[in-house]
């Protein structure tokens, strides 16, 4: 048995294992793409592909952070509101006070970190469920965002901000570069750091993690802070794309993120999940929305379809786990 193990762990094999475990939704994605490229003539156009990637940028930021939180056995409902808080603060600072955009962006991201710190501290040092804690900070953040822009829309006119929102590096939209950076960083954290291993351990069995010498409280705190920072960044992206600060920014974004994470096979009970799966989940959500727009489907119905897709994905996952879809010999 051990002789074989010599080459069992090449990175190629682990990649193949990863793909195998996501095979179901990969096929679903492929089917969608094939269908859309036949049904519409614009789906495969480079501009449209870039468009899809740009549209999912905010969701990728949130979903990558959310993946860590959910693997940890938690949930963070505040991220959508943090988008508004960070975006509105940053936009107002630039537009109203004429503050250096880099500084304003840093403040926006720092606000995300602060909300994450608050979420993380309460979750780590009390027994209040993360659902309740982040529900509260969601309302607080959304309220503060309204205060920040005084319930109005703040328009920004700044070239750096505009570059972040809609710029290109050569032929490539700058958003795509941001997405890649976030994916790589979060994937490295989860698979190639001791801290990442601890996230899986705490989410899988918190007591056992503590007995194994892991500081569970610190892990929880850090994960929520990272998630807050990513949500803060998403706020900047979201605001700079439209060049406004608006308190309705990121409305319902937390649900899109959770959808992508769940589609990507991360277990809501914690302990299991991958960034790769989440990225596929994000692409599915993006392609689905894009496809429905291209097909001219009414936006009200788009919600219905989105909800149905989540139920379908989770349902298939459930059946798979309970062994009902197992192949019979």
């Amino acid at each position: 048995m051990n002789n074989k193990s010599g080459n069992q762990y090449s990175s190629f094999n682990s990649l193949m294992d990863g793909i195998k475990s996501q095979l179901g939704i990969l096929i679903a994605l492929l089917v969608m793409c094939v269908f859309l490229s036949i049904a519409t003539n614009s789906f495969l156009a480079t501009t449209n592909i870039f468009n899809v990637l740009r549209q999912i940028a905010v969701n990728v930021f949130l979903a990558c952070g959310m993946t860590m939180v959910i693997i940890l056995g938690g949930i963070d409902l505040s991220v959508g509101a943090v988008i508004a808080l960070s975006g509105c603060t940053c936009a107002s600072m630039i537009a109203k006070a004429g503050i250096n955009p880099f500084l304003a962006i840093l403040v926006g991201i720092a606000l995300g970190a602060v909300v994450g710190l608050i979420n993380g501290s309460i979750v780590a040092f009390s027994t209040i469920p993360p659902f309740i804690v982040t529900l509260a900070t969601m309302n607080i953040s959304r309220g503060l965002a309204r205060v920040m822009v005084n319930n109005k829309t703040v328009a920004v006119n700044n070239s750096i901000y505009k570059f972040i929102g809609t710029g290109y590096v050569g032929p490539i939209p700058v958003h795509i570069i941001f997405i890649l950076i976030v994916i790589i960083i979060t994937a490295i954290i989860l698979t190639r750091t001791s801290f990442g291993r601890s996230i899986y351990a705490v989410g899988g069995n918190k007591m056992a993690a503590q007995y194994s010498g892991i500081d569970a409280k610190k892990v929880i705190l850090l994960v929520f802070i990272i998630n807050g920072i990513l949500a803060g960044c998403a706020g900047i992206l979201s605001s700079s794309r439209t060049m406004v600060g608006q308190y309705s920014l990121g409305d319902g974004a937390e649900m899109d993120a959770i959808t992508a994470v769940v589609l990507g096979g991360t277990s809501m009970t914690g302990g299991v999940g991958t960034i790769g799966g989440t990225v596929i989940g994000c692409i599915i959500v993006g392609v689905l929305n894009n496809g429905m727009n291209l097909l001219g489907i009414d936006s009200s119905w788009q919600y219905v379809v989105q909800g149905a897709v989540v139920l379908l994905a989770v349902g298939v996952d459930f059946l798979k786990k309970s062994g009902m879809l197992q192949k019979r010999k």
Binding site: M1, N2, S5, Q8, Y9, S11, S14, I188, T191, R192, T193, S194, G196, R197, S198, Y200, A201, G204, N205, M207, A208, A209, Q210, Y211, S212, G213, I214, D215, S267, G271, V272
Partner: protein, 497 residues
């Protein structure tokens, strides 16, 4: 006349691993047939096939000489087969009679349950078997023994012909066991065939007529209880002689590794003093609640110390977190695998290497080779049976889970290893493996603390035994002084303050 139940050539594999191979089991009417075997020998798989939870790959099941197909729990029930599982499946907030009639409610009119009739019938059955329970009592308020009896009555009400009892006495007091046996004898006299699974050899003489021993998925022998004895049965189960069971050579060195003085956690640990030497296996005995586990987790930094000193190589230490203990090279194999040990959704590899993760995960660099080699090495050393390194730990037998958890700490521990009930819920062969590993570790200079409630293993494995009672260390016995009576004497000492 044909047998009541005859299972012939039953085979079953899970993901390519044979767990049962050509098993033969015959049970006559009115017979108590004991099923014996280590964890992982295939007992529960066989029973689940009989109960319709698993389907067999091949073989036949005959009842009264007629071939039957059992593909679901409903099929099993139709054929008069009932299983009383170790974890009782009852609804705590319903009454005894409602639980008995669950799934076969007596109706009056359309859609209304006739509770009164159910109560009367249940009470008649309970009285018939001399079970002093009121049928209207909520199941929540029953003891475990009473719940088991209600489960038996439930099986009887279904018209049971073959009753399977999975370790029915494992959590019962002595008097309760006797009551249980009376009911079993009564069922016997009514011609019900009983398959009785138990680890307690002493019970078999009293209750069983025949015994079938399973080992590694094979039925190795079927014997009349009268014609066999404990040693023979254990040898059959383990596949070797009992005297090879414990392995202990004297490896104690003079150097004191750990010195604990007047340790107190302000709760269950009142005043604990002992010392531990290099190469020593130091046993901890005492009754439930004596504070042994609490003392160990306190040293390990899980709970806060109130007073007292702990010296490690003559240097004072006071771990605030398990992390600090791990850093110093301490190891703790906890008592409760499920609650404190396993990461159930992860494989053997993840579970083995979690404590030493810093060694192969470093600032974005993952040395997969190192992790895999360590895992493979300890699967080898511990002789852990796994289908692959990625097999989920929750899919392993209790013994193999324990081996994985011990591996976890062997990788990380430098010279003090605390093992809390290391052989609890573990089969005989794994126990022998664990004893051997402990002996090897001690020989290599490891200082081991073994907390155990099993006196034979303490007496055979330890160099000295510390006895605790009510949070105090009440005695320390040297090897020459070991006896169950002495241990019990110190374990029941009452402390004044």
């Amino acid at each position: 006349m044909a047998c009541l139940l005859s299972m012939k050539d039953i085979s079953k594999s899970f993901s390519g691993i044979k767990v049962l191979e050509n098993i033969r089991l015959d049970v006559e009417a009115g017979e108590v047939h004991a099923l014996l075997g280590e964890n992982g020998a295939g007992k529960s798989t066989l029973i689940k096939i009989l109960g319709g939870i698993y389907t067999k790959d091949s073989g036949t099941i005959e009842i009264n000489g007629e071939k039957v197909e059992i593909n679901s729990v409903a099929d099993a029930r139709k054929n008069g087969i009932s299983i009383i599982h170790q974890e009782l499946m009852m609804v705590p907030d319903l009454s005894v009679s409602e639980n008995i009639f669950l799934g076969q409610s007596k109706m009056k009119g359309r859609g209304f349950v006739d509770l009164k009739a159910q109560n009367i019938i249940s009470q008649e059955l309970l009285d018939k078997y001399n079970i002093g329970i009121n049928s209207r009592t909520l199941v929540r308020n029953l003891t475990i023994a009473q719940k088991q009896m209600v489960e038996i009555i439930r099986a009887v009400s279904f018209g049971v012909k073959i009753l399977v009892m999975d370790e029915p006495t494992s959590s019962l007091e002595d008097e309760e066991v006797e009551t249980m046996f009376q009911i079993v004898r009564r069922l016997k006299s009514e011609g019900i065939g009983i398959i009785y699974i138990s680890h307690k050899m002493s019970e078999l003489d009293v209750i069983a007529d025949e015994v079938t021993v399973l080992r590694d998925g094979l039925s190795v022998a079927t014997k009349k209880t009268k014609e066999t004895n404990k040693d023979e049965l254990v040898a059959l189960m383990v596949g070797r002689n009992i005297d090879q069971y414990y392995t202990r050579t004297d490896t104690v060195q003079d150097e004191v590794v750990l010195e604990v003085e007047n340790l107190c956690d302000g709760d269950r640990v009142k005043n604990v003093s002992f010392n531990l030497r290099k190469g020593e296996i130091l046993g901890f005995s005492g009754l439930v609640g004596a504070g042994r586990t609490e003392c160990m987790v306190n040293i390990f930094g899980i709970t806060k110390r109130k007073s007292g000193t702990v010296k490690y190589h003559s240097k004072e230490i006071n771990f605030k977190t398990p992390k600090e203990a791990v850093k110093e090279g301490f190891g703790l194999v906890p008592e409760d695998r499920k609650l404190l040990g396993n990461f159930p959704d992860q494989g053997v590899r993840f579970n083995s290497t979690i404590v030493i993760k810093d060694k192969f995960l470093n600032a974005g660099r993952y040395n997969a080779r190192y992790e895999h080699e360590m895992t493979a090495k300890y699967i080898d050393t511990m002789k852990t049976k796994v289908s692959s390194m990625e097999q989920l730990i929750s899919k392993l037998s209790g013994g193999n889970q324990q081996k994985v958890l011990i591996s976890r700490w062997l990788m990380a521990t430098k010279d003090v290893l605390i093992m809390d009930e290391p052989t609890r819920g573990v089969d005989v062969a794994t126990k022998a493996d664990i004893y051997k590993i402990m002996n090897d570790l001690a020989a290599s200079g490891m200082a081991i603390i073994m907390v155990s409630s099993e006196m034979p293993e303490l007496i055979n494995m330890c160099d000295r035994i510390v006895v605790m009672s009510h949070g105090y260390t009440t005695g320390v016995l040297n090897r020459s002084e070991f006896s169950q009576e002495r241990i019990m004497h110190y374990a029941t000492v009452e402390q004044d303050n």
